[in-house]
Subunit: 368 residues, 4 copies
């Protein structure tokens, strides 16, 4: 019951890493929205594995097939028809053999043990099953569609790799432009400062060489979001985005605006002064991350998500045998991402775009 | 529509800071649960204002009146009857006069502006209205009830003030005991290390003296939570807790286990090795914060929430006049909390307890 | 968890028949909506007991107290402020003594037995507890507010008593006018045809004389509902209204348009021919009850709800003793409604108005 | 957003009549549940078209392909693994040509007009699109799986065609047995009394001959449902079942137990006397349809759904041209079901089974 979010627009992810297919169901998309499948594919390709020496060697084309919810509109374009949209991504590369030996010895840092407890051994945990990072592909399909719809309303969502280990990228400027987002998206390594990117790549390469892995932080911004979106308390923009972003595998922290750093600031430093600019109320800085009281201010919505280091590492790890009360040493075969954070950049964008679209579709029922 | 959370157990907060009353509706509480109103009052008193030179001078007794959902059981005890429980806290101290001048000049860092946009000027923003920190009192009423119910199932929830500014408390031990939680709860200042507490109090006092405020971090833990609780993806324990904790005013970041620090670790450091201990699978450390794949491991659930500095500060701030396109200087009269984080400690506990109870009541439908 | 409905606008009912108070929480009302408390009281008075020899003698003033969500606007008017609205109705007349003897002998046709099973004896079933018809008063408070908001958008909701036993009122005309609704609402007995009303009153009086009770049917219509409201399948207008109307105590059937009679018609009789009238597409009859595929046609939304006879009757009934495996004869003391259907007329209106407002606030996201 | 129901178990239907495929996503199924695909196919075949001279000639094999949520268990058996289950039914027979001419002239009694309004002409209404009766096939897939799971807990769900036009079947006995359900299911025409069935078949054949159609009523029962299931008010069993059953195309009325007839009874006739039988509390009749106060009594849950006559009829009908303000005469080509009620029998069973499973999985949180 946990693989869906949204109310007016419901987005449901399905599939297991080594099952027949994975995908997403979107119920509540408005009709008449164009989907440019080429642009969508380009977005999906940003997270696709197998392109890069720093990623897993798993080969997947990840071309969505649409079973419902759209009508063809020529030249690689589709039009939504109002009915629920189902997109399927076939699983091509299923090397289940790699995992069979691991069933009784849960991998530290993975959901193997918790899934075993929850589903009493019935879980399909081949390749991580439904918990696999592979399930972020359909989230990207949904988010990629959301991005196209938002874009036509002047809302752009972008992200960059803010840090890997202790190597940090430059932060987004106060008003990141859609062009900046696009420029980052087109880079082979999604950073603002390519020198910082090189340092990050070195850290990742070193981790791989050490049969280890490393974590990172993704920073995401949405510009053009109108003021007044969100609800007080538990349906605020922060609550809604955080709930979805924590659903991305490996995320262990989410912060908005100054975030944890705000706890080390004074009020006079953290409060964003209001000013009139070009007929609009703005703030001279954006420590609030574009959100006050759960509701958008009209400034860019900015947040960061912390990704833990990939739990799959080649070096030996201590674990238990579940069938006997004894310990075990585990070596995880196969080739794994020594870092997931850089591939997670479009995934975080997708999550943010999906939530923002969903909240926009719910309407802003401040008044009727 | 944002002031409710939960599915099987729905918890809805209502009220404005300067309205007739505030309170909470709990729909879905099991019947036959005892509520010790004295223990509940003691819990509510932990966040009550007016007790302490470091807090606002607003005087509120905050004694909940139960209009429904309970039957008296003698000696200050109530028994839930299965019907929705409504608890009202009357607003005694409503100095609305303080705020009338502020209507046209939104306070930086507050929801004044966003509420004005959303509700087109119809919002009741006296004292922060529905966005006031005062609304955390009914959340504590709900959470205090949840804590009592959880306690009878061997689950204890506790928290401490992890930092104020750059003054840091000691972290929780690997297995915090219910007694430790109780000891912290009984302290006038909720820290593990009283020397650290003194440093924090100095920072707060200094901020007040400077007509300023300061932020902090609250760390919360729940022990005794069974393994296997939670769902994959968007209904994981992290998603569920984060959505509610971000609903607490002033929270700008939430992290589980190692959290953002995990992004600076290697996999070999961050993965928690599994071991058998006393017939149970445990981990030798708890970087995961008791959650893998959104599902509990049986280790303590540990998270931290970052609170921004109180936006209400006495010193002059730059803002705008909403009715004319011009700037304004704002001084916020009245006495305000120079830090909310220490009073937020029971609020974070309440949020965690409420979510965990809710998730336990939903059942763990791994198998049927 | 069952006493709430709605998504964008959530309406939650609380209270027990003999508790301190009952009421309703409305989370998601738009701000700036006027509530005329006099008009609201007049609506509530339509279902109030103790006015009429055909009703229970219980005396309740049923004047809602608003604890939150509104600001005074002069002359008995309130303005919603966007925050959740809480209205409390105090329970004045609580003759619990009448019910104490009944605890061990569940009343046939009441929820005594099912509540006892569900809540293991902890339920507060004095006077029917949370299942009491008294809980329809807060539903009327919510619906009365919804009716005022809808009325300002040209939507009128009205109802009449369509039948009692086999005595039938005239049906609504194809286009019932708001004035007709008002005229019925002002009658002491809410029918279109007063002669039919007299026959119904005779049947009710006769049932009372026989220490028995009688059922009836309420027909409700909403005019001015725009075409295109509702969703396919399980969120259609029929599904949404039925779910709430079945929440009214004693309702055992709900039908839209021709309803069950449609099952005895031919397609050529039941299909409503489309015609252009005054620049709008209409149908020449309304067998569909204004709904096709779950979505409104723009014709009046028409439905009927069947109320069973009041289960509380004075004559002896066969039941069981729960504490011993033995039978018992039960006589229910006190004075009860020999029919609930006539008092249920405003309740059905309230349910319909609340659902329609809720669906309108959700928006009609056919396109974006 | 309307094609999903359920909370703990979410069931989402997708697809259009003439799209690539239709299907169902089930999120929240317990793990370790066996699905007998042969039994499931037999159930699906009960609603499949093209078997019978009284049904549409559309040919569909309707064999579900499972993309996720299951693992093979040998001999046509699958085992659920806890992850969301996706079942796809490919659309084989898509004669879209038949419908192209109809775009501008909405078919009376169909959702053509309402979908056109809602989705501003972007809807895919070929063959009824997402509103097609064809979408009941995936509902049957979900319900067929639910029936298998319920059956292992001693709960049997069955239905029969209670009437066609004015030809009525015998009612279910007080305690219908699973064997009776099975016997009806195996009949070519799903009635209890085959003579009544013959009269119904004659009425259907006559309607076809008259280029017309006819409606009917399906009666459904669930036996073995434990007492205490359901919630008060808006989450009662009646509300939950009705919301889903009204989602089945052509349903215009739903009633439980005596239903509308209860409105013509006296309380002494309609109240079901409680008795002890074999150590259990039962009632001597079941006018309540197994539900009091929204909560199950332990008696069979019994309800009826009224189906309108098929709106697609061969004879000429009056409609409008949408593109010009003028009328039109419409003849619907192709071969259509002259009655849908007999094919709807398994669909109603499926809806009931799905809701009951969902409610059982939510737990009965009367006490904790």
């Amino acid at each position: 019951m946990g693989s869906e979010f949204g109310k007016t627009l419901k987005i449901s992810i399905f599939g297991q890493s080594h099952g027949a297919g994975i995908g997403v169901l979107m119920d509540g998309l408005p009709a008449g929205e164009e989907i440019d499948t080429n642009a969508l594919q380009a977005f999906l390709d940003r997270r696709r594995p197998g392109k890069d020496p720093l990623s897993t060697a798993r080969k997947e084309t990840d071309v969505p097939r649409f079973l419902s919810g759209v009508l063809p509109a020529g030249e690689g374009k589709l039009l939504t028809c109002g009915a629920p949209l189902l997109a399927v991504l076939d699983n091509a590369d299923q090397r289940s053999g790699d995992y069979d030996a691991l069933r009784d010895t849960p991998r530290p840092g993975h959901a193997d043990y918790t899934a075993w407890v929850k589903w009493k051994g019935y879980a399909d945990m081949r390749g991580g099953g439904h918990f696999s990072g592979r399930l972020t592909a359909p989230l990207c399909a949904a988010g990629g569609i959301a991005k196209q719809i938002l874009s036509r309303r002047g809302i752009a969502v972008g992200a960059h790799l803010a840090s890997v280990g202790d190597a940090e990228d430059a932060p987004f400027p106060l008003y990141p432009a859609a062009e900046l987002f696009q420029a980052v998206a087109e880079k082979p390594f999604p950073v603002l400062d390519d020198d910082a990117g090189e340092r990050m790549r070195s850290l990742i390469a070193q981790a791989r060489q050490d049969q280890d892995s490393v974590g990172g932080v993704v920073e995401c911004a949405a510009v053009g979001v109108p003021a007044g979106l969100g609800e007080p308390m538990f349906e605020g923009v922060e609550s809604r985005i955080a709930a979805v972003v924590f659903g991305i595998p490996a995320v262990k922290g989410v912060e908005f605006g100054a975030g944890f750093a705000a706890s080390r600031l004074r009020g006079s430093e953290n409060n964003d002064p209001f000013v009139w600019e070009q007929g609009a109320v703005r703030t001279t800085r954006n420590r609030a991350g574009g959100i006050l009281g759960g509701i958008t201010t009209g400034m860019p919505v900015v947040f960061r998500a912390a990704f833990k280091p990939t739990p799959s590492i080649a070096r030996a790890q201590e674990t238990v045998r579940l069938s006997y009360e004894e310990g075990a040493e585990l070596r995880i075969p196969g080739r794994h991402d020594p870092c997931v954070a850089h591939r997670a950049v479009p995934v975080v964008e997708a999550a943010a775009a999906a939530v923002l679209l969903e909240m926009l579709l719910e309407g802003n029922h401040g008044t009727f």
